[in-house]
Subunit: 609 residues, 2 copies
């Protein structure tokens, strides 16, 4: 049943050899690798306005100088990442750059924050996509959390089926979004230039604002930086570009930077000019486009393109998280399960973990992007900073031709990133303190896991040049717990006798009478197997049996014998029948295995009805 359902949803299993890679043209790469970054425009400008709105609508003009600051940061990041692309043509994720240049510890810090970051990519993008939908259809507003959860489940299933990241279909929504926003900005500017928009609805630039402070401006600025999440994507995917890959990747990154900058500036400017104020039930982008177009077909296209690119952005999380988990798992920092490819060649465990974690976040934060974004931004800027720092160390160590200039660029990038991080922690501590707990916790867990795997590896190592010794059958003591004389017991005793001459049947009874009665029958049966009756006044079978096995084990250890416990176990034919029998056989097995080096054998008896 479950299997059939799984096949229907996930599809038939694929052979390992079916895995393949496909090189991307620049135009396609631009679309596919920039959905995360470009989609940030759907919430970045809004975040600035939300902070400014906490003072007064008059403060909205500050969004313009803040946008300039964001643009400078964007330029610095693009320049820095171009250098990372050239330095790591094999794909330079923050985990790898930091690990290689700053050491494992920093690599793990980058890895841990990236993992958390990908969860937040999914949660934020999907929540934001839901906002785009519920802004369009306000009657859906009460169901936002469930719409978001439904979207995550949909993306999860698509990824479990296996989605080639390079599928052309993923490129169209990005083009559509860029074109739609470009039309929106051009139309808006045209309306402004032709005087269709009153200048009264926005405060003049430079209007003095009561209560504004550097603190608030920095807070608004750091909020705006959330528009830059995702710019690192190109540098991780250099090998997917056509040759010469680094050059193509760097070029594409620059083009993306320009598009991102233009769209961001355009939207921030129009929002200012049209006097758009953030509201709970409608996104700023929705308000802006309905102001420019009215609620006509263009409005709906923009909303649809926004929702789609946000879903794609979430999808990038689904590409990145399982891959990073795989790499961490390969390096023994995460459970082995993340290394296993599923039926459709995706890393199913990574996909499912990401889905569960992001659904958890969406439910806990009630799909509210405003509360998720600061945490997300920290998760992004920490690896940003670490890779920049890694590059600085790299230039200082290797000192290639022109290293001074390169160093300067990464140094600027690093300093700005650290500054942003500092601003985050100063201005939004209440929202980002969690990262101080969860990122170190992740690193701690990585270490614990690594230590365990290393220890296990050492313990299991064996020397194949050594000859095998032998256990003689007489040195095997066999214990058979029984509950009466039945066919199952008969089968087990038969098997036990074939293993050893030293077999003991053990019965745990709750009264002396029941023990004596069974002993009498046992004698009559005349199997040649010893009978031991244990009295259990508290009706527990496990406790007296364990104690007995312990005693036998101790004696066996003294004579270098092996102890085997044979559990007669009948196996029900149908699932519901399992509830009709106590599963004490398996309980005893688990108990015995956990505590001692004792071999457990299950002699099954399949019930026929």
């Amino acid at each position: 049943m479950f299997k059939k359902f799984k096949r229907l949803i996930i599809g038939k299993p694929m052979k390992s050899t079916e895995a393949q890679e496909q090189k991307l043209s620049n135009a396609k790469a631009l679309a596919i690798l920039s959905s995360d970054a470009l989609s940030s425009i759907a919430y970045g400008p809004e975040q600035i306005l939300i902070v400014l709105a906490s003072i007064s609508v008059i403060a909205f003009w500050y969004s313009l100088p803040i946008a300039v600051g964001v643009l400078i940061l964007l330029a610095a990041l693009i320049l820095s990442y171009r250098q990372i692309i050239y330095a790591y043509p094999g794909g330079g994720g923050a985990y790898m750059v930091a690990k290689e240049n700053l050491g494992t510890k920093f690599g793990l810090f980058a890895g841990g924050s990236l993992l958390i970051d990908y969860v937040l990519t999914v949660a934020v993008s999907v929540s934001s996509g839901t906002d785009a939908i519920s802004s369009t259809f306000p009657e859906l507003h009460p169901y936002r959390v469930w719409i978001a959860v439904g979207m995550v489940i949909f993306i999860t299933l698509v990824n479990l089926r296996g989605l080639t990241e390079s599928a052309s279909i993923l490129a169209y929504p990005v083009y559509a979004f860029v074109i739609a926003l470009a039309v929106l900005i051009i139309t808006g500017l045209y309306q402004i230039l032709t005087g269709h928009v009153s200048a009264q609805i926005h405060p003049a630039i430079g209007t003095p604002v009561m209560g504004i402070s550097l603190f608030l401006i920095l807070k608004a600025f750091s909020s705006g930086c959330s528009a830059l999440t995702g710019v690192e994507a190109m540098s991780n995917a250099v090998p997917n570009f056509k040759d010469p890959a680094p050059k193509n990747a760097a070029l594409t990154l620059s083009v993306m930077g320009i598009i991102l900058g233009l769209l961001f500036t355009g939207i921030v400017f129009l929002c200012y000019w049209y006097g758009i104020a953030p509201q709970e039930k409608e996104t700023v982008l929705s308000k802006l486009s309905s102001s420019v177009f009215g609620r006509n077909i263009f409005y709906y296209i923009i909303q649809a393109a926004t929702a789609l690119i946000l879903i794609l952005a979430a999808n990038t999380g689904f590409a990145a998280f399982p891959l990073l988990a795989f790499n961490l798992s390969k390096d023994k920092y995460m459970p082995r399960a993340f290394k296993v490819r599923g039926d459709r060649l995706g890393y199913s465990n990574g996909i499912i973990t990401l889905a569960l974690a992001s659904i958890f976040l969406i439910i806990v934060f009630k799909g509210n992007t405003e509360n998720l974004i600061p945490l997300y931004a920290v998760g992004v800027f920490l690896p940003f900073s670490l890779s920049q720092t890694g590059m600085i160390v790299k230039w200082l160590k290797t000192k290639p031709k022109g290293w001074m200039g390169k160093l300067a660029i990464n140094l600027t990038g690093a300093l700005i990133c650290y500054l942003i991080l500092a601003i985050f922690f100063i201005t939004k501590f209440g929202q980002v303190w969690m990262s101080l707990i969860f990122i170190p916790l992740a690193v701690y867990i990585f270490h614990k896991i690594h230590k365990h795997y290393t220890a296990v590896g050492n313990q299991l190592k064996t020397d194949i040049s050594e000859k095998l010794s032998t256990i003689t059958s007489g040195k095997n003591i066999v214990i058979v717990p029984i509950a009466g004389i039945t066919k199952v017991v008969k089968q087990s005793i038969l098997y036990a006798k074939s293993l050893s001459d030293n077999v003991v049947a053990v019965y745990v009874g709750s009264s002396q009478e029941s023990i004596k009665e069974l002993e009498k029958d046992w004698r009559k049966w005349d199997t040649g197997v010893k009978f031991v009756g244990l009295m259990s006044p508290y009706r527990s079978v496990l406790t007296p049996l364990s104690q007995f096995i312990d005693v036998v084990k101790e004696k066996a250890d003294a004579s270098h014998s092996q102890v085997t416990v044979i559990m007669p176990q009948f196996i029900a034919k149908r699932w519901w029948q399992r509830f009709l029998h106590n599963q004490s056989g398996f309980l005893i097995m688990a108990n015995v295995l956990r505590r001692r080096n004792i071999i457990v054998t299950i002699v099954p008896y399949q019930l026929e009805e």
Copy 2:
């Protein structure tokens, strides 16, 4: 950890020999065995008024003739049950009376409806107790469901600790309730007689009512019958009385009937006279006592006594359900687990099942007694009817002295019960249809379980006079699945060789290279054990391994050999480490055991770190 917590909550385990019984004096028995019946007064009169209120307050005078009908029914039931007490001095539950006289099928119908009925006893009593509390403190009204669930959990824990049903402490709340209601009724009557209550606030008896119909009157009457739930308790507990037990039990039953009748009549009359109308947020009893006393200390005492007796009534469900489940389990109609005594000698599984089921009902019905009571009443009247019918059959079969009179009494009782059932299904079908599904379903499940246990018993029977045959070690084919060459594998191979000369190591690889590489190492190791490499293009270990085992098993069957699969399995030291290793050993074990008569041996390797 879990164990310590369990000890703290439940207490230390008790020896089987500590079980004991204590005979009850009539006064104590009256209190302890009547909490269920007497507590029904807390909701019975209200149910009548709720139906009448659906027409008009003028219809309230109909509550008086309806109460007379209920009293007649009560008298009939008491007379019938007196006869059951004398006929079944060993305790005549509906299950037993119906089984003995009408056959197993009807016994199971009675048993099934009683089980459901006990769940409803708990759900209704606790919900009603919560109503008493939230009527007193209206600010608690929004938390009713959680208060009710909390109460069930409390009663469950008390029962898991083991509560002697005969504990004196259980008697006091019943006395308190009876005295409190008696004071309320007497005070009310006194106020009426002294003219303190205006005659204007109630409709005169006989006032014509628009829209009244026989249907509605019958509906109100059947609602009022819910006040009679619980009168059967005495007849189940005859052996707990002092000698002469049947006589004492019959006497006590009659006294209880009189008290119940008086209190019921008194409350219905006062409600009529004081013009009490049912409301959502306050019980009728609460309104009545605040009308009579005002919200003074007497009011609070009445509310407290009501809440307490309702909790006690729920507790009777906790005494009855596990015992009936035990009896059904003994007769092989319910899972064996219900036969097991817990640490404190209570039937823990029955207690926990009842708790979960009643919590489920409380949550689904949102603690709303009005919706639960019709279902409850059907669950009560069906066993009533079946035991009466059983008694009729008994008299007809045995024809003892004076059987005609006895027959007449039980016949009247049976007819009235069937009539009530018919009225329920006609007037409240929307609320009671579920019993038409769940009771037959329960009976169906009983049969399925019985069939299974009987089949198992037959399959497992073995003849101890038959001599044991032997398996020779050469006839044992041993398969050892391996994932590489490690200490765990070494240990398993060593053990395998001690069992048989016919050992095969099986490796499942996802590529030809990995298989060849391991094979080369294996040859070097020179263990004398054959190596089989299986290619798994779909990365599944289970599928190719199962197929291989199937093939081996087929060959083994042909040569009458036994197949043993030895699973090397390392056992992590700490719980979290289990997530770091795939548990495929146990998966393979479950798969192999389920499908074939193959013995599975687990060779554990305890990790030290």
